[in-house]
């Protein structure tokens, strides 16, 4: 899941990788850096998404070297889309690209299974996302602050993890904004209580 706020984005994901009912990895990191201020959330086949992300990293680093300045988030999303679309018959990859660039600020792009590209204010993906469409649509409002976004992401993912068997583990949060150092915020390894 990724949400845009004024000046940056918040990305969040669960940490469960499953093969059938067996949890292969309960602490996986589904949020990956593509570039300094561009990150992606992976969902779908772990191998496919890892391969796609590796390609995008490679292309984007070459592009940035030629460009000699920070790349646009849209460029990264476009590269993701090209790979996912051209290889749609062989891939099962749903990606969310979130980042910040000096030209358009914080942006969130979703590249779902077919390889389309859509810019959104907030995006959700993965198996657990189906259970929280209503929650997310109801909770989101324009002009949220960074803290409100983080709370929004935490709450939504916690609810998805609660209902979806393929989601679980911990919630990882990444926060990107226009500062010298990007801040990585990792939630402590405890389970969120949903009773409140």
């Amino acid at each position: 899941m990724a949400v845009e706020f004024d000046g940056g984005v918040v990305l969040g994901a669960d940490s469960r990788t499953s093969t059938g009912s067996y949890v292969a990895n309960r602490v996986s990191d589904k949020i990956v850096p593509i570039h300094d201020y561009v990150w992606a959330c992976r969902s779908g086949s772990a191998s496919d998404t890892q391969a796609v992300v590796d390609y995008v990293k490679y292309y984007l680093s070459g592009h940035t070297a030629e460009l000699d300045r920070l790349p646009r988030v849209h460029t990264c999303a476009n590269l993701m889309k090209s790979i996912c679309y051209e290889n749609k018959d062989h891939l099962m990859a749903g990606l969310i690209c979130g980042g910040w660039d000096p030209y358009e600020g914080g942006q969130v792009y979703e590249v779902p299974l077919g390889g389309s590209l859509v810019r959104q204010k907030y995006a959700i993906g993965g198996s657990g996302s189906t259970y929280i469409y209503g929650l997310v649509d109801a909770t989101f409002k324009e002009g949220m602050t960074k803290e409100e976004c983080k709370a929004f992401v935490k709450k939504s993912i916690a609810h998805a993890m609660s209902r979806d068997g393929s989601s679980g583990g911990v919630i990882r949060l990444e926060q990107l904004n226009n500062q010298e150092l990007k801040e990585n915020v990792f939630l402590e390894m405890n389970y969120l209580s949903l009773n409140k």
Binding site: L67, D68, H74, P102
Partner: protein, 269 residues
């Protein structure tokens, strides 16, 4: 100035004993024999102008353009062998299109200029190929940084970013004129010239630097990329060109006695 190649000038694949590649220098000479092209980076845009000699009365006015658009936000003028120049334009258009397709936004001026320079340079490193006998002057706009730039690529593959540049027959004289224009004020970096002013100035310069007794009559082609054109590379509107042309001619009327029949015929925008 000219020294004999004496066997070291047959191909680009050979250095001379004093470290020169003669073929590249000869290519530059080919450019020097052709109509003058100039470009100026103004405060609110870039203006390019090229003198297109009218080779025959049978030619339709406005044909054999030397002004080319590359993408919506970039374009170039060429001087030298126009056929060679068109090859470079083709490549520029390919580069811009591929960049747009791969990265999803319009090509950035620095990238366009560098890639074209690489391409032009490539032809100076092979024994089997000859260098382009054409110089290109490129105007481009960066959509993200919101800046406009002017580049010139010489047949050697050298590419620099300019405030003002010139190529072709009257290049030396034109450069002097441009320097006078740009450094009128004390501050050399703060160029106060606007595009509209530059249109007239460039036409005047083109008329000034040509030798009207020796040179053929010419057509004036001008293009710009500025605030007024919404940062799209377009031909300067016909009325502005006609006015500039008349003013330019007026400034040298005392020297020119042969009234040519082909002055600045219709410029299709």
């Amino acid at each position: 100035m000219s020294s004999t190649g004496a066997g070291y000038d047959y191909s680009c694949g050979t250095f001379s004993p004093d470290g020169r590649i003669f073929q590249v220098e000869y290519a530059a000479k080919a450019v020097e024999n052709s109509g003058t092209a100039i470009g100026i980076r103004c405060s609110d845009g870039v203006v390019l102008a090229v003198e297109k000699p009218i080779l025959s009365k049978m030619l339709v006015a406005g044909s054999n353009r030397r002004v080319f658009g590359i993408d919506a936000n970039s374009g170039m003028v060429i001087t030298g062998f126009t056929a060679d120049g068109r090859q470079i334009v083709n490549r520029a258009r390919d580069e811009a299109r591929n960049y747009r397709q791969t990265y999803g936004h319009q090509i950035v001026p620095t990238v366009l200029a560098n890639r074209l320079a690489l391409y032009v340079h490539y032809f100076t490193t092979h024994g089997a190929l000859r260098p382009f006998g054409a110089a290109s002057i490129i105007a481009a706009y960066d959509q993200d940084l919101k800046t406009h730039s002017l580049y010139m690529i010489e047949p050697s593959g050298n590419c620099f970013k300019y405030f003002g540049c010139a190529a072709g027959k009257g290049a030396q004289a034109a450069k002097t004129e441009i320097e006078k224009l740009l450094y009128n004020s004390n501050s050399s970096t703060n160029n106060e010239l606007t595009c509209r002013e530059a249109v007239n100035e460039l036409a005047r310069i083109l008329y000034t630097v040509r030798d009207s007794s020796k040179d053929k009559p010419f057509e004036l082609e001008m293009s710009w990329l500025c605030l007024e054109s919404d940062w799209k590379y377009t031909m300067v509107p016909k009325d502005l060109i006609d006015a500039a042309d008349a003013a330019g001619k007026g400034s040298v009327v005392q020297n020119s006695f042969e009234e040519t029949k082909f002055e600045s015929e219709s410029m299709e925008v």
